[in-house]
Symmetry: C2
């Protein structure tokens, strides 16, 4: 048995994943660790999927409601979705099989802000949680859990579930201990200010104390996190990164930012990674991140001495960088802090720190409303994630995106967003490879020209044609605040659904 289980009582609970899965029943609400491909349980999902398949083969019902930190990985969301074992899922996902099951109606999916999903569990909005399954680096003598490569909503699930299953993963470096900062917000009506006033501040403990009498099983694993490698930085990502840096330089010139005052929040992906590569050669120093995930580009910034602290709730590293983090965790934990996602994304802290939020999007409309979730208004991609936590409350909120997707068939700029996750009041800057639109202080009609200029040239005439028509109709009726022609507002999407292209 692994010496990573220091608590005697819990050593007595060690069993196989298949045995532990017997504690997870049909209809259970199951909250697990995991945020992106990091820190999710490696063994139980497959064991639960096996139970589901056996039950289904016998004609019996077996489905669970699954609550996570955010997305997980093929050997978690993927195997469970494949086995038709997920009745309900929240708050964020990105596995292709699960996405298919959500969109074909098998799995019900509720999209919530990542800072709020754990709070809703505490507040009883989902009813009683049955089981928490959490990956640990080790279990301390007093039975506390040292989380692994993410914290996510583990605290809320451990606090609120009736039963606890712990996976102790010996693949995860023991040197991760000390990197976490576990802080609980008191329950209503006893909430107090969160005492974080700088990204580097630690305000909690390094492990999660639990009620060990709730632990029904401990399972030993030795399996890697799963995150996809990033693509090499392409030309379009580089152009977007260049415009983003121009925007930052403009803020410095205007006196609204200093070269050592940039606090970064960044969504995950190739474009953000290009931005970070651009920052390596920039004048910005002492960059701090108060964000959701630590990605490769931030590790490079740390290595280069450009980034002095990175606070997040999870890693989202390529396999190569994940190996490096495991090998050098004792060193990186001087600079990296992993917090519960309720804290990493909390509006209170985000607004106080004054960070610059940078997220991707599916589409923005000509007035600056942003769709982050539903393709053509109906098909769920991944969910809103933490984008709204940061966008609403950031000092400046930006969105970065290539102007087209699917080889030009989808325009990121449309007449009317087919789903809206970020409202016009919140979206301040949009950036594509064609430049940036600074929307601050502008009324809707003043934004249109700037936003259309971000579109791919193939789409600009179609967007101008729409706006001209909407404007002339609105003039006729004196409804000029936000001119729209509701008859043709979704023509881009209709064409896409009919022909496979918005053109």
């Amino acid at each position: 048995m692994s010496d990573r289980i220091a608590n005697a009582q819990l050593r007595g609970k060690v069993m196989s994943a298949a045995e532990a899965a017997q504690f997870v029943n049909h209809g259970d609400k199951v909250g697990i660790s995991g945020f992106t491909g990091a820190g999710y349980p490696k063994a139980l999902p497959t064991a639960i999927a096996e139970r589901a398949k056996e039950a289904h083969a016998k004609g019996e019902e077996y489905m669970i409601d699954l609550f996570t930190g955010a997305s997980t990985a093929p050997d978690c969301d993927g195997v469970l979705a494949e086995a038709d074992a997920l009745r309900f899922r929240t708050p964020y996902q990105s596995d292709p099989i699960l996405r298919k099951k959500i969109n074909d109606g098998t799995t019900l999916y509720a999209d919530y802000h990542l800072s709020e999903s754990g709070m809703y569990v505490e507040q009883g909005f989902f009813g009683q949680m049955n089981v928490a399954i959490v990956e640990a680096v080790r279990i301390t003598e007093d039975g506390s859990i040292v989380p692994s490569s993410s914290v996510g909503n583990s605290v809320e699930y451990l606090d609120n579930a009736e039963k606890i299953i712990i996976e102790v993963n010996s693949w995860q470096s023991e040197e991760l201990e000390g990197m976490h900062d576990i802080y609980r917000i008191n329950r209503l009506p006893h909430r107090q200010p969160i005492p974080i006033t700088a990204p580097e501040q630690r305000v909690g403990s390094t492990s999660i104390d639990i009620d060990i009498n709730k632990v029904v099983a401990v399972v030993e694993t030795d399996a890697p996190d799963r995150n996809a490698p990033f693509s090499p930085v392409d030309e379009i990502s580089q152009q977007i990164a260049g415009h983003f840096l121009d925007f930052l330089e403009g803020e410095v010139a205007a006196g609204r930012l200093t070269y050592d005052g940039y606090i970064m929040q960044s969504g995950v992906g190739n474009v953000p990674n290009a931005v970070m590569a651009g920052l390596l050669d920039s004048k910005f120093e002492n960059i701090k991140a108060y964000t959701e995930v630590i990605q490769d580009g931030m590790v490079d910034l740390i290595d280069a001495g450009k980034m002095t602290v990175a606070s997040a709730t999870s890693f989202s590293l390529s396999p190569e960088y994940a190996e490096k983090m495991n090998a050098e965790a004792a060193n990186y934990r001087k600079t990296i802090i992993l917090r519960p996602q309720q804290i990493s994304n909390h509006p209170e802290v985000v607004r106080r720190l004054g960070l610059i939020a940078t997220n991707g999007l599916i589409e923005a409309d000509i007035y600056g409303n942003v769709n982050s979730t539903n393709v053509s208004g109906s098909r769920m991609m991944n969910g809103v994630g933490g984008s709204a936590d940061f966008t609403r409350n950031g000092f400046i909120s930006s969105f970065i995106t290539p102007s087209v997707a699917k080889g030009g068939a989808i325009s990121a700029i449309v007449p009317f967003a087919s789903h809206i996750d970020h409202t016009e009041q919140d979206v301040k800057v949009i950036i594509t490879e064609y430049g940036y639109a600074d929307l601050r202080g502008l009324a809707p009609r003043q934004r249109v020209e700037k936003i259309i200029a971000l579109a791919h040239p193939d789409y600009r005439p179609l967007l101008e044609e729409y706006y001209d028509r909407a404007l002339s109709m609105a003039k006729e009726k004196s409804i000029l605040q936000t001119p729209h022609d509701l008859v043709t507002a979704f023509d881009f999407h209709k064409r896409f659904l009919e022909t496979g292209s918005m053109k």
Copy 2:
């Protein structure tokens, strides 16, 4: 000269409104006090409007950019709009003439969250503010301003404008002094936690300290605040209030609320007033308000001993209640606190206190997205106000509305909201005279039936027909997360624009 001007230097600045208006130039960015019809400057707006009319008669340009707390009154927004003196306006308005000018294209209007508008001024998002015009109850010996019946964004405008004009209004009771709690958040990067952990806490001073060398004029006035009387509570409002109270009772039964734990945020209007009338006879005690405006119903709750504290940024009282407040301010200031709107609406405090948010809406769609601002997607009503500050961050966020408007021509429930200010992630409960829909924890398709049940019976078949069509199309394409038929999504609005009725 009034003895309300205790500072000698500022006594030397007393002049007429017409003289003071000479400090306000074409193109100036002017920030004024005022929130609903309370605490706005009474003399300068008319004097500025006169300047504009004279200039226009001579063929000269004269327009200002006007920043307020929220809406004002006919003798402020109204006279300025009538004179075509407003080039730009933010963050909220409700004057009929101004609304017309916004929708006919004369005035550019930018809609922002009320907790953020003052912060944006501080952060330099609108450029240099030129003039602040603020109503005071009195000026203290050291030159500080005791605000009158609202605080709004006065602190931010006074701090950031080049010139200050003070109106000392002797109609306002001097006993209002002591009711205000002026707290400034440090500027970035020095922000600290806001130390409010209960609505009754005072954390600041009772007046606004200013740089008196920026004061260019002091104008004496004696004019009442202007707020419209509320209509008597009608049957539909009573039914909505009944359902709201049923919802609260259900929360108590579920253990998520206690009879002495209700912290209220409430939008303004007849339905909220009916809710407060209902609370008078309810089991709820020790009700606290942490909200934007104090309205008649809250005064009744205070008088009845049901409400023990009301924290807001402004009054929005009927003329009768405003007279009473003026007469008994010394008594009411034990229970009432007026704060800057950045504090009354701050996400940090709102989320910490755990209040139940209750706001109106223009329309909600069948998935729970809410439009608070633009009729038929284009015509601005009043703006988002503080509704999003409270909705996103409240413990439970509810919307209350009659099921139809304009004698049945407009349905409050539509297939697709024609503008979205509150996204599906944020809207938790919707209430009409037909009941309440508790949307917490539900995936989009699970919400539809509950929301359609809130619609007027005349509209239910049309909504069901839409959903059935959308569902069958989505099934065909396996895009079932949020089934929509984008071809007919806006048919309700198209019919309304063509025929004057959504039917």
